[in-house]
């Protein structure tokens, strides 16, 4: 029972997320007894494609004659064609923007039950049962797939990357899909180049209302720079316009799971925690000792974020210099 992974690329490059997906797929394939096949859509060079072999792919299909803009119908048709070609029964994708756009369509197209946002390898193979978070992380549920095929989307940062010494054969893949059939027309793209994405960052430094003003954000940014991380904020902060909306983490904002999440002046409303509770280590600094954030945090300081931050930056700099 082989597995197909859709390995998205970003301007021709794969990233950590791609390797995480393959590592997960390898574990799933071992469990169900099959191979890992990867599908890449768009222009990616040969070395980059064959690097997927280091993470468990034995075959890489490269649909390179494809426009880079995501048209959900065109991409769905290409991925469905690749499923047919390799005879895969399980399709694995990321639970990110493109995965959320494509997985439901593929579920219908392939008549394959979809478990979205899974966090671990299947509990059982026959029947296929996978656990996922429900109620925005307040509980987990065991989903049984009732169909012969399955689509799984993996929550970001929920699976350890496992590098192996494998090699993958790379094949050019002509899906036969009419690219001109795209219904959507992309008119404009605005991208911030070179910025570390919040959802990719291993370290996230976040500020809330306790920062008192948007003008006080320099130490948050400094600490993020020192630790090579990204900056985030709570909803009131983005609603006030202190920070841009794309930094809002929480139930209706971004859902993140970094190794280290540091919350300064964030009380920890349940909606905020829904966006960060999967972080491996949470540090909270807040003046209110009864703030709910301390129930979810691993380490806490009761104190003024604006006073703690400079000391923390200088101490971390000292430690890093050693």
């Amino acid at each position: 029972m082989s597995v197909l992974v859709y390995t998205e690329n970003w301007d021709g490059k794969f990233k950590k997320l791609s390797y995480e997906l393959l590592s997960y797929a390898k574990s799933v394939a071992t469990l169900v007894g099959g191979d890992v096949n990867a599908l890449s859509i768009g222009q990616v060079d040969q070395d980059e494609l064959s690097s997927l072999g280091n993470y468990g792919a034995s075959l890489v299909l490269s649909a390179d004659g494809t426009p880079s803009g995501l048209d959900n119908q065109v991409y769905t048709a290409i991925i469905a064609a690749a499923m047919d070609k390799v005879g895969a029964r399980i399709l694995i994708m990321a639970h990110n923007n493109s995965g959320k756009a494509l997985a439901p369509r593929l579920s219908v197209r392939l008549k394959a039950g979809l478990a979205a946002g899974v966090t671990a390898v299947p509990e059982s193979v026959n029947p296929l049962v996978v656990s996922k978070k429900v109620f925005s992380g307040k509980a987990k549920g065991m989903v049984e797939i009732l169909t012969e095929k399955a689509v799984l989307t993996l929550s970001q940062n929920s699976f350890e990357i496992n590098e192996t010494a494998g090699t993958a054969s790379v094949e050019s893949f002509d899906s036969g899909v009419d690219l001109a059939a795209a219904a959507t027309t992309i008119k404009d793209v605005q991208k911030q180049e070179g910025k570390l994405l919040l959802t990719d960052a291993d370290v996230v430094i976040s500020g809330g209302r306790g920062m008192k003003s948007g003008d006080n954000w320099a130490p948050i940014e400094d600490l993020a720079t020192v630790l090579g991380g990204a900056t985030a904020c709570s909803r009131p902060v983005s609603d006030e316009g202190w920070r841009p909306h794309d930094e809002h983490t929480g139930q209706t904002g971004k859902i993140i799971a970094p190794n280290l999440y540091m919350a300064f002046g964030i009380s920890g409303a349940i909606q905020h925690l829904a966006g960060v509770s999967s972080s491996k280590c949470i540090v909270a600094v807040n003046t209110d000792k009864d703030a709910p954030i301390f129930e979810s945090a691993d380490y806490g300081i009761v104190g003024d974020a604006l006073k703690v931050l400079p000391e923390l930056i200088s101490e971390i700099k000292t430690v890093k210099a050693q």
């Binding site: 959320k100 491996k280 691993d298």
Partner: protein
């Protein structure tokens, strides 16, 4: 042009989640039900589009799949401004089943835009919108954070990693919306609440559809170890713990 907004009836996001004693189903005792937050944003944007007279939007319909107990949530949507409501009389069993019901409703009339929230706050499936579009064989755009009409042309802003894209899409399509589509959810005014009582709410029977998935069991996450507190004047100790105990620096 008519807009259909798909509404999921979900427990208030502050609900303390409990399950039945056999852990097989959600215990809804004492739960307050609300319009799924993303669906509420979709509805708000639909109302804004209709109220702007330069747009050719004639009507906003809301639809949900659920038993009679879901009707107060539909009435809330009518109070916010929707013109009429449809309830598909069925207990939702999984995303595919729900999508099949909604696709049947969407296909039964001349809608131009179908809007869904990007996920529901209960089972976090992120599935229904995309599934409706594939069942109907129509375009879909996900991660929609902006939607405007330029005559009959629909111009969408979609979030991509590290930025935004602007694209156009022909009606009929499914827009799967997220934060940004409307500034904040609209709150029903007293006048809207009064008017909602008289607006049409039609109940339709469920279409034949299977389920692709089923929840076998639920569990609460393992309790977390208590937070280790460090004195505010002892930042050195915090850094030490992060470096040597948590090993995250």
């Amino acid at each position: 042009m008519r807009i259909l907004v798909c509404i999921s009836n979900v427990p208030d996001t502050t609900t303390k989640v409990k399950f039945s004693t056999d852990q097989k189903s959600f215990d809804d005792g004492g739960v307050q039900w609300i319009i799924n937050p993303w669906d509420e944003l979709a509805l708000t944007r639909a109302m804004e589009l209709k109220e702007d007279a330069s747009n050719p939007v004639s009507n906003v319909t809301v639809v949900t799949v659920g038993p009679a107990s879901a009707e107060p949530t539909l009435r809330k949507a009518l109070a916010i401004g929707a013109d009429d409501a449809i309830r598909v009389d069925a207990v939702s069993s999984d995303a595919y089943f729900v999508a099949a019901q909604l696709a049947a409703v969407a296909g039964s009339s001349d809608f131009g835009i179908i809007l869904c929230g990007i996920e529901s706050s209960d089972y976090n499936g992120s599935s229904v919108g995309g599934m409706i579009s594939e069942i109907m064989g129509i375009p879909s755009v996900s991660a929609v954070s902006g939607l405007k009409l330029e005559g009959e042309e629909v111009v969408i802003t979609r979030d991509i990693d590290g930025g935004k894209e602007e694209l156009s899409v022909p009606a009929l399509f499914v827009g799967v919306v997220q934060k940004g589509i409307a500034k904040e959810p609209r709150i029903a005014a007293m006048r809207g609440i009064m008017m909602a009582r008289k607006k049409p709410l039609r109940v339709v029977p469920a279409a034949d559809a299977e389920s692709y998935t089923s929840f076998k069991e639920f569990a609460m996450p393992e309790p977390k170890a208590p937070c280790k507190m460090v004195e505010a004047d002892n930042v050195k100790e915090l850094v030490n713990l992060l470096q040597n105990e948590a090993k995250v620096l």
